[in-house]
C-alpha cells in the first residue's frame, strides 16, 4: 500500500502541483507575439508558402518549426482563437517534462524522494511562470522536453547498453533543434554527465558535437547574428554580471520583493543561504568523489551560457531550462540530508521551504498577471471581431487604449485574423501610450485627425470605446463632439491601398486593388511634413516580375519640388524605401511627394502602363 501510494504521489503530485500553481496561466488568453504566429496561416496559399512559413527565419532570425510554426498553425487550424487547447498542449508537454525529470533524478540519485522533490522545486521557480502562461514561449517547454527526453534515453543506454536507447537519444536530440536553438547545448550536457558519472561513455557523446556544430554554422548562415537592438550579443565582461543576475533570480528570493513587501536584507540573505547550501553540498559530494552535484551545477551553466551575451535582454523565462539542474541538485541534497538524520532532513526541508515560499508567490502572481492582461486583450479583440461583423468594410477606430493593451494586443495586429476591417486608434491616443522605440512605432497605428474626421463625416468609420467589460460604440458622440475639436493637419502615415486616403492622392493613380494601388509613370500624394531632421520617408512598394524584363529601373522621389532620393530596383517583390528629407522641408505643414519610375510596363491582358504598386508611406 505504501509503495503504491509512493508511486502514485511520484507521478501525480507534480502535475497536480503544476495545475495549482499555474491555474491562471492555463486559462490565459493570447497576447503579444501570439498574434503574429496565429496569423501565420493567413500567409499560406501554396506548398511553397507552407515551407516558407515553417522554415524561413522569422522574429530575430529564429527557426523553430515545431514549437512555434507547426504548433500555432495546427492548433489554430483546429481550434481557431480558442486559447485553452493551446495551453492544454503546453501543460501536457510540461507534465511529460515533470515525469522525465522525476525519472531522471530518481535514476541518477537512486532516491525516490529526490525524484519527487526535483519536479516540485522546478515548478516553484518563477522562470517557469511565463512559459506556462504565455503561448509564444512554448518553445521553452518543448525544448525542455527534447533535452530531458534525450538525456533520459542516454541514461537508459548507459544502464543497459541497448542500442535502441542510444538511437532514441539521437531522435530527441535532432528533433530538439526544431523546438529552440538552445538545444545546441545537449552534447555538452551529455558529456558533462559522462565525465561526472559514466566516464566509459564519454566517447559516445562526441558525435553529438558534430551535429551541434553543423547546426550552429547553418544557423549562422541563414540567420546572421543581430548587429543592433536587444538581441545583439555582447562578448565582454558583462556576461559575469548577467550570470550573477540570473543566479540570484534562479534562487527565487531576489524576485519576491517584486510582488510582496520584504525587508531589504531578505533577498541577499536568502540568496546567500541557498547559494552556500547548494554549492557546499555539491563540493562536499565532489570531495567524496561523487560528481553528480557538479554535473547539476554544470547543467545550469551550460544551458545558460548561450544566453549570457544577451546583456540587454535579461528575462526570467530564460531560466526555465537552466534551473532544471538546480532542481535536481536541490532534490538530491534534501534526500541525502533526510537519509543522514531526521534533524538534517528537517533543516533541508526548511531551506527548501524558503526557496519555495519565495518562488511560488512570484510564479502565481506572474501567471495571474498574464491571465488578467489576456482577458483585457480578449475583450478588445472579441469585441472588434463583433464590430467587424456589424460594420463590414468600415474603418474601426478604438479609443481608450492604454499602454499595456497597445503593446500586448493592438501592436501585434490581431484584428487582421478576425476580419478585413482596418483598425486604428483615435487621434490623440498616443498620449496614453508609453513609447518603446526598440519594439516599434506607435504612429503607424494612429489615424491623422483630418483623415479620421473625414471618415466619420462620410460614415465610413465607427468608433468604439475600450475599457469596460464590453466595447461601446461612441461613433455619433465622436462625430458630433470630439472630431470638430481635432486639428485639421494632414496625416504623416498614409496607406494608398485604402479608400480612406484617396483624396490625398494625385489624379494619376489607378483604382484600388486589394490592399495596394498601381501608379503609372508618375504620381503624387500629399502628407504632413517632417517635424524634426531625424525623420525620414519610409515606404513599401511592389515591383512586378514583368517590369524587370528590360533590366533594372529606378524610382525617383521628390518632396515639395526638391529631390529626396532615388532607389534602383533590381529584383521583383517588395521594395522598402527609407529616404532622408532636405533640411528646408523640416517643419512644413504639408509636402507633396512626387514619384517617378524610369520605365513602365504593360502586362498581358491589361492596357494600362504600370509603374509600381504601393502600400504605405510614413514619415517617422
Amino acid at each position: 500500500m505504501t509503495e503504491r501510494l509512493r508511486r502514485l504521489s511520484f507521478w501525480l503530485l507534480p502535475p497536480a502541483f503544476c495545475l495549482w500553481v499555474y491555474w491562471f496561466g492555463l486559462r490565459a488568453w493570447f497576447q503579444q507575439d501570439d498574434f503574429a504566429w496565429l496569423g501565420l496561416r493567413l500567409q499560406v496559399h501554396s506548398f511553397a508558402d507552407f515551407l516558407s512559413a515553417m522554415f524561413a527565419p522569422m522574429a530575430q532570425g529564429s527557426i523553430r518549426p515545431w514549437s512555434e510554426r507547426a504548433f500555432f498553425m495546427a492548433c489554430s487550424a483546429v481550434f481557431g482563437m480558442e486559447a485553452l487547447p493551446f495551453h492544454i498542449c503546453i501543460f501536457l508537454t510540461q507534465f511529460a517534462n515533470l515525469a522525465l525529470l522525476g525519472a531522471i533524478t530518481r535514476r541518477v540519485t537512486r532516491s525516490w524522494l529526490a525524484g519527487l522533490a526535483a519536479p516540485l522545486l522546478w515548478l516553484s521557480n518563477p522562470g517557469l511562470a511565463v512559459p506556462l502562461s504565455w503561448t509564444s514561449s512554448y518553445n521553452q517547454v518543448l525544448c525542455a522536453f527534447c533535452l530531458l527526453g534525450a538525456f533520459y534515453c542516454f541514461l537508459r543506454y548507459i544502464d543497459s547498453e541497448r542500442r535502441a536507447w542510444y538511437v532514441a537519444q539521437w531522435v530527441f536530440f535532432v528533433l530538439g533543434f526544431g523546438a529552440l536553438e538552445l538545444n545546441v547545448v545537449y552534447p555538452a550536457l551529455a558529456l558533462a554527465y559522462a565525465l561526472a558519472a559514466a566516464p566509459r561513455f564519454v566517447r559516445k557523446t562526441l558525435p553529438l558535437f558534430a551535429v551541434s556544430a553543423a547546426y550552429a554554422v547553418l544557423h549562422h548562415i541563414v540567420a546572421p547574428p543581430q548587429v543592433s537592438g536587444v538581441y545583439q550579443m555582447h562578448w565582454d565582461s558583462a556576461v559575469f554580471t548577467t550570470f550573477w543576475q540570473y543566479w540570484q533570480w534562479a534562487l527565487a528570493a531576489a524576485r519576491l520583493p517584486d510582488v510582496r513587501p520584504m525587508p531589504d536584507w531578505f533577498a541577499p540573505a536568502a540568496t546567500a543561504v541557498l547559494t552556500v547550501v547548494l554549492l557546499g553540498f555539491a563540493l562536499w559530494r565532489a570531495w567524496r568523489r561523487e560528481f553528480l552535484g557538479l554535473f547539476c551545477l554544470a547543467w545550469f551553466g551550460i544551458v545558460l551560457a548561450p544566453l549570457l551575451p544577451l546583456r540587454d535582454h535579461i528575462t526570467d523565462y530564460y531560466l526555465a531550462i537552466p534551473v532544471i539542474g538546480l532542481a535536481m541538485l536541490g532534490g538530491w541534497s534534501m534526500a541525502a540530508a533526510w537519509k543522514k538524520s531526521v534533524a538534517l532532513g528537517a533543516i533541508s526541508f526548511v531551506i527548501a521551504g524558503l526557496y519555495v515560499a519565495s518562488g511560488l508567490p512570484v510564479s502565481r502572481a506572474t501567471a495571474r498577471w498574464y491571465f488578467n492582461r489576456g482577458r483585457k486583450v480578449q475583450t478588445m479583440v472579441a469585441g472588434v471581431a463583433f464590430a467587424q461583423q456589424l460594420h463590414p468594410g468600415k474603418l474601426i477606430l478604438l479609443n481608450g487604449i492604454d499602454s499595456d493593451l497597445f503593446w500586448a494586443g493592438v501592436y501585434h495586429k490581431p484584428f487582421r485574423i478576425t476580419g478585413g476591417n482596418d483598425v486604428y486608434l483615435t487621434p490623440g491616443s498616443e498620449t496614453g501610450i508609453t513609447a518603446h522605440g526598440e519594439v516599434g512605432a506607435i504612429g503607424d497605428y494612429l489615424l491623422a485627425p483630418a483623415v479620421a474626421g473625414r471618415a466619420l463625416e462620410r460614415e465610413e468609420a465607427v468608433v468604439y470605446q475600450v475599457g469596460g467589460p464590453r466595447l461601446k460604440n461612441v461613433t455619433s458622440h465622436f462625430r458630433d463632439q470630439v472630431a470638430p475639436t481635432w486639428k485639421k493637419e494632414l496625416p504623416r502615415f498614409l496607406n494608398v491601398g485604402q479608400k480612406l486616403f484617396a483624396d490625398l492622392l494625385g489624379p494619376s493613380w489607378y483604382s484600388l486593388e486589394g490592399g495596394y494601388r498601381w501608379m503609372p509613370g508618375e504620381a503624387t500624394l500629399r502628407m504632413g511634413g517632417p517635424v524634426v531632421p531625424a525623420e525620414r520617408l519610409h515606404f513599401t512598394g511592389y515591383c512586378a516580375e514583368g517590369q524587370l524584363a528590360g533590366g533594372p529601373f529606378s524610382l525617383t522621389v521628390s518632396a515639395g519640388g526638391l529631390p529626396v532620393g532615388s532607389v534602383e530596383i533590381r529584383k521583383a517583390g517588395q521594395v522598402d524605401g527609407d529616404l532622408a528629407f532636405p533640411a528646408t522641408l523640416i517643419g512644413r505643414e504639408e509636402v507633396e511627394i512626387a514619384l517617378t519610375v524610369s520605365r513602365t510596363f504593360t502586362p498581358a491582358g491589361d492596357s494600362r502602363k504600370l509603374g509600381m504598386a504601393f502600400g504605405t508611406f510614413a514619415i517617422r
Binding site: 463583433f386 468604439y464 460604440n473 458622440h477 463632439q481 470630439v482
Partner: protein, 174 residues
Amino acid sequence: MRRLALIALVALAFTAGCKRRDKIVVQPTEEEGQALASVVRVADPRMAPQLISGFHDVEQNSWRWTKSKFTVAIRPPSGAATKGAKLELKFSLPDAVFTKVGAVTLSAKIGTTELPAMKFPKPGECTYSVEVPATLLNADSVKVEFTLDKFLAAGAAEQRELGVVVSTVGFEAK
C-alpha cells in the same frame, strides 16, 4: 483493426467538429442608442468618451485631475428641454493647490452662453452648482466648458498642469 478504425472515426469526428468552430468567439458590443450619461463619473472608463478635453488619467480608480480648462459632453435629463436642469460639478480643491494659489473661481459655459461663476474660498470638497436654462438643453448632448481662474502651471508642482480633482459632473433634473 477494429480498434484502429474506431480511433480513426473518433479522431475524424473530433476534427470535423472542431473545424465548424468560429475563428473567434465574438463578444457583442454595446451599440449606440444607449445614450450618453447625464451624470458622468469621470473614473468610469465607459464614460471616458464624454470627457472631451482637459482631464488627466484616472487615479485611485475614483477621480481625475483637471487642467485649467476642461470640457465634458453631458446628456440633458428628460424634460430638461422644457424645464431646464441643474449643472453640478463635484470636486476637491486640494491643500496642495490652495496653499499655492488661494481661493479659486470656477466658471462654465455652454456654447457661447456663460453660466454664473462661483468662488471657492476654502480647500476641501466643493460643489459647483448652477441653474441651466431650458433653451441651452434642447440637444441630445451638451458640451460644457469649465475654466478655473487660478491653477498650478505645468512645472510648478509636477510636469502636469493641475486644476482641481473632479469625481462627477452632470445635470440634475428639475
